[in-house]
Amino acid sequence: MKARQALGPAVRYILVILVCLWTLTPVAWMISISFKPPTEWYSPNIIPERPILDNYITLFNSTIPIGGTYFMTSITEVITRPLFNSLIIASLSTVFALFIGFLAAYGVSRYRAGGTFALFFTLLTRMLPGATFVAPLMVYYSTLGFIDTYPGLVMLYTAVTLTYAIWILKGFIDEIPPEWEEAAILEGATPWTVVSRVTLPLVRGGMLASALFIFILNWTEFLFALVISVTQVRTLPVQISLYASAVGRMYGPQAALGLVATIPMVILGYAIQRYLVTGFTFGRVR
């Protein structure tokens, strides 16, 4: 009996460990390779024999040799600009998507704005691979002069993530009984006060959850960034792809930058995980 009781948790732990291995092995590999000299990039050892920091240093100064090897590379930019670009573009797009998404979700949830089709229609934009849009997008953007501009990428990111914001937030707003808002109205609140004092604080968990989700999407987006950016608005994912030399990919710097790019996400996720777990903590009193 005891053995059987212990079996449940044991199985659970084994599964958790398997999942962790599955997801963390690539990360471990990335960390490992970011400290390896070029001679070890293809080695199966996880622990570098001759650990170096050159892969990181080269992110800020591409002229130095990596582990003693000079690479024939076209990379001249340091990562500060792409890092800054990614932060600005991902943040602004997230804020816009949340703002517009909240208003849209509110309308859909409370007034059935647009009927059922409009809500479904927003999802349609995600049902085609992004590559489908690239050609027409290029035409529009070059006509409008949006290529390689912040507004160009921000608008695009806002548009493609908006549907997530709407769907996630609608779920949260649906949970708030309309009576709560009516109660606020009877107390003298204007529609805007109702939203700012009652609705918004109650969907804070949903806002943060969708913010993190959308920010990650924006942060990791590659295809559109590759197409739209030239030099001015190059983002981190594009920058990572650029680490190549005449003789092949520069896995070391790529891994190093990959790790650098992950850090802000981890910090962000950690900071708001409390709200993610307790996302749906409000609700009816009884």
Binding site: A183, A184, V198
Partner: protein
């Protein structure tokens, strides 16, 4: 303090006529209960008074002023919702102060007002607790407090006790009665619970299918229900109804059903004026009849005992006279057994007779 008047209110939702015609007045400091089963239009009526629904037709007056076009927040109305709608993301103080803060009332005044209300509703100890962890009774009081903070002219309560378990409800009903006595405000109280209505109301409007069937004091409604519906709805256990017809026996008008007969010559003129053979419904409350183990009264009828619910000093006897079931609530009598026979006599002064077709009361 104010007077509320509602004239010919009507509300249609698409195909559904939720409220057909509702008119009533609530005088200063009076409590009117809108009582009826779910779907009878009572909540819709309340929401029209509050301004949360626009009437299809009809008028709402507060203090003699037509408020149909006045937005809800300017009507001077406090509404306590069915699920209380207390904001769980705020503490009790902020909940009560909500309306005042929105109106930019100076801080000192807000504190004074909240303090006054907290004292009235016995909420001082939880004033800075988050609303989330409060007990139901506290939440109810917070909801009432929030409505009262902005000094409404009329307080509306929408089934505030309907989702509460029975024991808590008993306590909260008593609390509500006390609060009501303390604040003395014109109140409309919506409920489907006749006991709540009886306890809390000065007058009751019994609603049925969008119409007010009977408007009167709790006593009037209990003693002289105007319709079959009201008679059935008020009282627990509910009134007995016996389908009978008017005949003549030995030259006297008589109400007859299978195994059942009652002399109608003592009853009101309106009954006796009915043509012979009229179909009538006789109503008698379980409390308004008595049992005899041997036939003593001339009019006592023979009945079969089917079930006895012992309540203590009183019991509810489930009887059958002919084919008609009859409940009698009376002092527990020795010698009455399930399966046995008793004699039952009805208190003739307390009989109710309804027109079977229209449901209207004749006496």
């Amino acid at each position: 303090m104010a007077k509320l008047e509602v004239r010919n209110l009507r509300k249609v939702f698409g195909e559904l006529e939720a409220v057909k015609d509702a008119s009533f007045e609530v005088s200063e400091k009076e409590t009117l209960c809108l009582l009826g089963p779910s779907g009878c239009g009572k909540t819709t009526t309340l929401r029209m008074i509050a301004g949360l629904e626009t009437p299809t037709s009809g008028e709402v007056y507060i203090d003699g002023v037509l408020v149909n076009d006045v937005p809800p927040q300017k009507r001077g109305i406090g509404l306590v919702f069915q699920d209380f709608a207390v904001f769980t993301h705020m503490n009790v103080f902020d909940n009560i102060a909500f309306g005042l803060q929105i109106r930019n009332v100076p801080k000192g005044k807000i504190e004074a007002k909240v303090d006054e209300i907290a004292r009235l509703l016995d909420l001082q100890n939880v004033l800075f607790k988050r609303a989330k962890g409060l007990s139901l009774s506290e939440i109810q009081r917070v909801a009432i407090g929030r409505s009262l903070a902005v000094d409404p002219k009329v307080l509306l309560l929408d089934e505030p006790l309907s989702n509460v378990d029975a024991r808590t409800r008993d306590r909260m009903r008593a609390e509500l009665k006390e609060i009501q006595a303390d604040i003395g405000i014109t109140t409309v109280y919506v409920t489907h619970d006749q006991l709540e209505a009886m306890t809390l109301a000065d007058r009751i409007a019994v609603m049925n299918e969008g119409l007010i069937d009977h408007l009167g004091t709790p006593n009037e409604i209990y003693e002289q229900p105007k319709t079959l519906f009201v008679a059935r709805f008020i009282g627990s256990p509910s009134m007995n109804f016996i389908e009978c017809h008017l005949t003549e026996k030995d030259g006297k008008p008589t109400l007859e059903a299978d195994g059942f007969s009652i002399d109608a010559s003592g009853l009101s003129e309106s009954v006796k004026r009915q043509p012979i053979g009229s179909e009538l419904t006789l109503g008698v409350r379980p409390e308004d009849s008595w049992l005899e183990t041997e036939k003593r009264s001339a009019e006592a009828m023979r009945a079969e005992v089917q079930l006895i619910e012992l309540l203590g000093s009183k019991s509810i006897y489930h009887l059958k006279i002919g084919r008609s079931p009859l409940l009698v609530k009376t002092y527990t009598a020795a010698g009455v057994e399930v399966g046995g026979t008793v004699w039952v006599a009805l208190d003739k002064n307390k009989l109710h007779i309804f027109d079977k077709k229209t449901g209207g009361a004749m006496i």
